[in-house]
Amino acid sequence: MSRGHLFLLLLVVLSALGVVTSQHRARKAFVALEQAQARQRQLEVEWGQLQLEQSTWAMHARVEKIATAQLQMQLPDAAHTRVVFTGKSVEAQP
């Protein structure tokens, strides 16, 4: 066994240790990715539920009921409405 051989052996051992650590780090990174993805899915679900909740609260029938019954609001009819043209109206004028 020459010095050269010993040196090569050292290199082999070092690289073997390198494989082990990088495998370990890859797994740790993967676990982190996994957790992030799980969180993403969970947030997506939550987003859907919040949208659902929002649209349930903002349901036209509910808003109307509260506006008319609790807040005593009412729609002004045409007689109580003034239409103002700014000149920038997107609607084509007759």
Partner: protein, 581 residues
Amino acid sequence: MSRIAIRPTSHLLEIYLQQWRGRLVLGLMLSGFLVLAGRAVYLQGLHHDFLQRKGDALASRVVELPAHRGMIADRNGEPLAISTPVESLWANPSSVDTSAGQLKQLASVLQMPVSELQAKLADKDREFVYLKRRLPPDQAEAVAKLGIDGMSLQREYRRYYPAGEVAAHLLGFTSVDDNGQEGMELAYQNWLAGVPGSRRVLKDRKGNVFEDVEGILSPKPGHDLTLSIDMRLQYLAYRELNAAVQENKAKAGAIVVLDAKTGEILALANVPSFNPNNREGVKPWQMRNHAVTDEYEPGSTMKPFTIAAAMDTGKYRPDTLIDTENGSFQIGPKRIHDAHPHGMLTVSQVIQKSSNVGASKIALSMAPEYMWTALHNAGFGTVPQVGFPGAASGSLRPYQHWRPIEQATMSYGNGISVSLLQLARAYTIFTNHGVLKPVTMLKQTGPGDPGVRVFSAKSADALIPMLESVISPEGTAPQAALDGYRVAGKTGTAHKPDRGGYSADRYIASFIGFAPASNPRLIIAVMIDEPSAGQYYGGTVSAPVFRKVMQSALRQLDVAPDKPITHQPVPTTVVGEDEST
């Protein structure tokens, strides 16, 4: 002493080892190695697959990757159908061991009687029983906190429809396994549905994934669908239709709101309706999409097409005089009548007064083939391409078999059947200078389909003042008049077909119109089936629905008025019912 001990000459040390003993030891050791090598070959080579499987079974798992069903939203992005995960609680009765106190707690969380829970858990032979399916998240969390042995939560997807019965027919619904069953959910099943994927992973003892081995199939989440529906108009249309159906004690009703320029369906509602979020006990007749799948005889709402076709021949002008024979006219063996007799009427007045005799005479002056072609081009007898399952084509019989009486009755909408959607689509001809626009349920982003020319621009535009005169006090539907907007429209009152003839007292009252007449933005078609509270004319039953929906819709869409608003003196306090809501 020591010198003696190492002397090789001592006879005691001169024992000659027999050769076989050394070889025996060597042989035993060698054979030991051979056995080991053989075992290694056996495990590594011959038995490798089996052991690999066993090893994988410990750590390797195939994980299902769920794919979301796409969301359905209206044109402004308001969600109409969302899938969200829910938990179902199941138990293994043979291993459930609960104290009475735990059971009581569980019952109060699930909001069901303790006796029902006990009954479900009574059968100890079973290994799987659902205690309650599709728990809302807060209940599921509370159950999980109780931590009862032998009970587990299972994740399922459930579709929610925030709009409830307002858009029930339009959207349809999905089955337990999230497949579309009706309406848009069925029509766009392939677009909405996600394809679940799977992959192989390695899991540690605690169940955490620590390595991704291979992706077997990547999940494809469903696509979102943006409809042309405007939820504000949809709600408005449903509410007014529902009120009118109740008020007139009608069997059913339908309403369609179209964008007059693009042919997009902005609202489509039916009464009776149902709650798609809880379909228990819903009857099939509640799920009928009358506006799309039902054919009915349209009655006088057909007349504008007869008149426009006749004007295209060049033989008629709006002021051409027609003798309506005092409201009674003999064609072959049959006699047709007008609801209100008149004498000489102009073509415009035939529309305004809705004279059957006038329309018949005009129709009979056209060749059957010509009239058939005009009606066919206007989309009658062909299915509107909206993707709705079960959309009706209506019926337009081939002209080769028309008898004069049939040609005459068809001119005022008898002996021909249409769906409400089809009729609303046909009215895009009058709002687009003679061009029929295809209707669509999807939000249009580009310029859209150019459409098909049916009548000349001159004839189609000439109909608008005629249809406006219908809304005047001299016409059949002054009830459809709006404040601030000019309205054009047509009433229809048809006897319902009944055992080969027509029922004397069962009607379909319809009204279809558009506004503002000077530059139409919306087409609204209303149909009310069997009004039975006294009123049955399209003008008195359906036109008020049109007016209420149109008035609010134009305001919500910020459409500029094209007629002066009548300013009444402002009362100090406003009481009573609000007309424009």
